[in-house]
């Protein structure tokens, strides 16, 4: 049989060794546990609000629900603000602090800063949710030009994000101090791979906070009558927006590192140095690749558009390298323990553990999402795809399929350790990622098709007085069905995590399935590890197919267009 032999060492949960993740979390000081519970809870609340807003939005777009225009766009604003800002940033801050505290082994340093950060972020959360629900709908980018006659909405909206930014910076400062503490005490001389990645991540969070301040402080000042109208908001937003894309992706890869070790005992067989280089590569490759968000800007010259496209080709370098490190380490370790078969080694992974299931399906979603992301980054295709439903069609694969499932996987491991209770119905939770992915694939396939046909991304009534193509409402109905499916399955996962968070110590935590595949790098034999290269080859092949299809389509349209840039 193409799997690891039955007599291979299994079920020795690596995280429960003396230095394991869950042991370190369990022994954190009580104030740190309280802070982490608060942040995890707030992040989950943001996810629930965002999920509800997103589902209602999808159903409205599918024609199943009707809202007044302003209410519909308020829902869309709530969805975006809740998920893309508060869920993703709150969970990042919480995970950073939890992992940094566990890495330190003695809890958080600069604890007052961490608590102040939490207070600022939660205040920002309340402010943002309130103004999103009651003010002029500004969508999640809070564009001031939408409310020139309503400075109050612009100002309060900006204030929410500024509080979030300040809180992020304070949390990250605490995380950095925590990571540096063992070195200052002389207990260690250098970071391990995870410690280094946490340090870089914390630095990026501060950069993100600065970018948010840069984007939203002018709006607040204008609303207060203390500054000019923020006419450059669009450009400042793009800088933040790009950061918002890739910071959670870096966090995801880091969580994969941590969970891989926790679930299988495997660390990189390529050494910590290569992992550090890969995490540092986010700093090198991500900032220069931001131009593709601006391909439709009329002020962007053709030359910049071409250069922007070329640079964008490098945006996946650190993520794919990290993927290759993890997969090759897992496969080589499995083969060192006797696994055989081309892909059979994967069957030995602890799939009944919901953290493993979430992480595994997250990888599947990443491959699908990357395929279409690389269609979008080509400047010549932007006039056909940007600002259409193609964009939400593919990025939900990332936002839900990759990021959210990965962060939920982390919570499924950390929360039982944090509070001492068991994970709620692990067998049921382990089945959800496949359902989430099925719904997402339907959502993405229909959404990408709809976007390619021109369905705009932010329109609720796509009838256009009967002039729109007949296929548009059909595709959007499929989007609604896909959204309903993944929202239902994701709700079960979220419910399980919330129940675990709230369960306290009503029952003792039980060990979930794990394997112990760790081998010393010197024991890695001559066996090949083809899963990584074959996966990436398949990914590139899919990118070729869909890119060529998009080029063929745009060339077949009954129109020839030249230019589109700045006239004079």
């Amino acid at each position: 049989m193409d799997i690891i032999p039955q007599d291979a060492p299994v079920a020795a949960a690596p995280g429960r060794t003396a230095h394991g993740l869950t042991v370190r979390i369990r022994t954190l000081p009580r104030p740190d546990k309280a802070l982490l519970n608060l942040l995890f809870g707030a992040a989950l609340l943001a996810l629930v609000l965002g999920l509800a807003g997103g589902l209602l939005t999808a159903l409205a777009r599918a024609g199943a629900l009707r809202f007044y225009s302003d209410d519909a766009y308020r829902l869309l604003t709530l969805h975006g603000v809740s998920v893309f800002f508060y869920w993703l940033y709150l969970i990042q801050a919480a995970l950073l602090l939890a992992l940094a505290a566990a890495e330190n082994g003695r809890g958080l340093a600069l604890r007052p800063a961490a608590w102040a950060g939490a207070a600022l972020m939660l205040t920002g959360f309340a402010v943002s949710e309130w103004i999103s629900a009651t003010g002029t709908p500004l969508l999640y980018d809070g564009s001031p030009e939408l409310a020139v006659d309503d400075p109050r909405s612009v100002g309060v909206f900006a204030l929410g994000y500024l509080l979030l930014a300040a809180g992020l910076a304070a949390s990250a400062a605490s995380g950095i101090a925590t990571l540096l503490q063992p070195r200052r005490r002389g207990e260690t001389e250098e970071f391990g791979a995870v410690g280094f990645a946490l340090f870089a991540w914390a630095g990026f969070l501060i950069v993100s906070a600065i970018a948010a301040t840069n984007a939203f402080l002018p709006g607040l000042l204008w609303a207060l009558g203390a500054g000019p109208f923020p006419a450059d908001h669009g450009t400042e937003w793009h800088i933040l927006f790009h950061n918002l894309h890739y910071l959670p992706l870096m966090a995801t890869v880091l969580v994969w590192y941590v969970l891989t070790e926790h679930l299988t005992g495997v660390t990189s067989i390529h050494g910590a140095r290569l992992s550090k280089i890969v995490f540092a590569a986010y700093l090198v490759f991500v900032p220069p690749t931001s131009l593709y968000h601006m391909f439709l800007e009329p002020t962007l010259s053709d030359g910049v558009r071409v250069v922007g496209s070329l640079l964008s080709l490098f945006v996946s370098v650190p993520t794919l390298a990290a993927f290759a490190i993890i997969v090759s380490s897992l496969e080589a370790s499995a083969r060192a323990h006797g696994a055989t078969g081309f892909l059979g080694w994967m069957r030995g992974l602890p799939w009944s553990n919901p953290a493993m299931a979430n992480m595994g399906w997250a990888v599947v979603n990443m491959m699908a999402g990357l395929t279409f992301a690389f269609v979008l980054i080509q400047g010549d295709l932007a006039p056909m795809l940007s600002d259409t439903f193609f964009v939400p069609g593919y990025f939900h694969l990332f936002a839900v399929g990759v990021l959210t499932q990965t962060f939920l996987a982390a919570l499924m491991v950390m929360l039982p350790a944090l509070n001492g209770g068991p994970l709620w119905r692990p067998a049921l939770l382990a089945r959800m990622p496949a359902l989430v992915t099925a719904g997402l694939f339907l959502f993405a396939a229909a959404g990408i098709a709809a976007g390619t046909m021109g369905v705009p991304r932010r329109v609720f009534d796509i009838g256009y007085g009967g002039l729109a193509p007949a296929a548009w409402p059909v595709l959007m109905a499929l989007v609604g069905i896909g959204a309903s499916l993944f929202a239902a399955a994701l709700s079960v996962s979220v419910y399980g995590v919330v129940r675990t968070l709230l369960s306290g110590r009503k029952a003792p935590a039980t060990d979930l399935t794990a394997v112990a595949w760790r081998v010393e790098p010197s024991r890695i034999g001559t066996a090949p590890a083809w899963t990584g290269p074959v996966s990436i080859a398949a990914l590139v092949a899919a990118m070729y197919v869909f890119t060529i299809a998009a080029f063929q389509l745009i060339q077949s349209l009954p129109i020839a267009a030249i230019g589109g840039g700045h006239g004079h």
């Binding site: 939408l146 439709l296 496209s309 370098v317 690389f374 009954p558 267009a561 030249i562 589109g564 840039g565």
Partner: protein
């Protein structure tokens, strides 16, 4: 001592895999969307390549607009746009740049030079792009119904009057989008190759009636 590991588990190979997606460059270069080491740049290729289904473009990419000085402003655009509507407006509310001038041709001294179509109506050579104007404003396009001809090149001059809008032309299997920023004039030379009635709609959320912001281009 040689490394006993298979090459798929060696550091260099793993690091190289990270660059896998960069190979998509090949597809881009094949479609002229990326520069080749010893070839011309994509923009040069675009200017010289025969455009599918089009007889003659004669148009210009942004930045080199025949006869248009480079100092036109949003205000001059507004004047030209108003003159365009006045000159070619039809009784049914549509605008037809090929129709005989209602106002006897352009009467204003346009700040951005002479229009290829100014006062010439149907006598324009097909090779010469006809200038048309499109203003986007909450929550409509002006004009909202344009009558054009298949095979004729049009120099679309477009601007948003108030806040950012989009203008997407629905073309059957896909659409073609431009983003319009307030007071920034965008130009695109467009040739419709098939007759039909094409929906134009806004792709950038612009407020309460965003969903209703639409227009039509009728191509004969």
């Amino acid at each position: 001592m040689p490394d006993p590991r298979h090459f798929t588990t060696r550091r260099g190979f793993i690091a190289g895999l990270g660059f896998g997606a960069v190979s998509l460059y090949g597809a881009w270069a094949a479609y002229g969307a990326a520069p080749l080491p010893f070839g011309h740049t994509p923009s040069a290729a675009r200017a010289s390549e025969p455009v599918p289904q089009v007889h003659d473009h004669g148009g210009s990419a942004a930045g080199s607009h025949d006869g248009h000085p480079a100092a036109a402003t949003a205000e001059s655009f507004r004047l030209d746009h108003e003159a365009f509507l006045r000159t070619y407006g039809q009784p049914d509310g549509s605008v037809d740049p090929h129709a005989a001038s209602h106002a006897g041709g352009h009467s204003h001294g346009t700040a951005n030079g002479s229009h290829a179509d100014g006062g010439h109506g149907n006598h324009i050579a097909a090779a010469e792009p006809v200038t048309v104007y499109l203003m986007a404003q909450r929550f409509a396009y002006s004009p909202d119904l344009l009558r054009l001809k298949a095979g004729q090149a049009y120099r679309f001059r477009m601007m948003a009057d108030d806040i950012t809008h989009g203008a997407s032309i629905q073309l059957g299997m896909a659409s073609r989008i431009v983003r319009l920023r307030p007071n920034i004039v965008s130009e695109q030379t467009v040739t419709f190759t098939k007759p039909g009635e094409y929906l134009v709609y806004c792709t950038v959320y612009c407020g309460q009636a965003h969903d209703a912001m639409q227009g039509r281009i009728v191509v004969v």
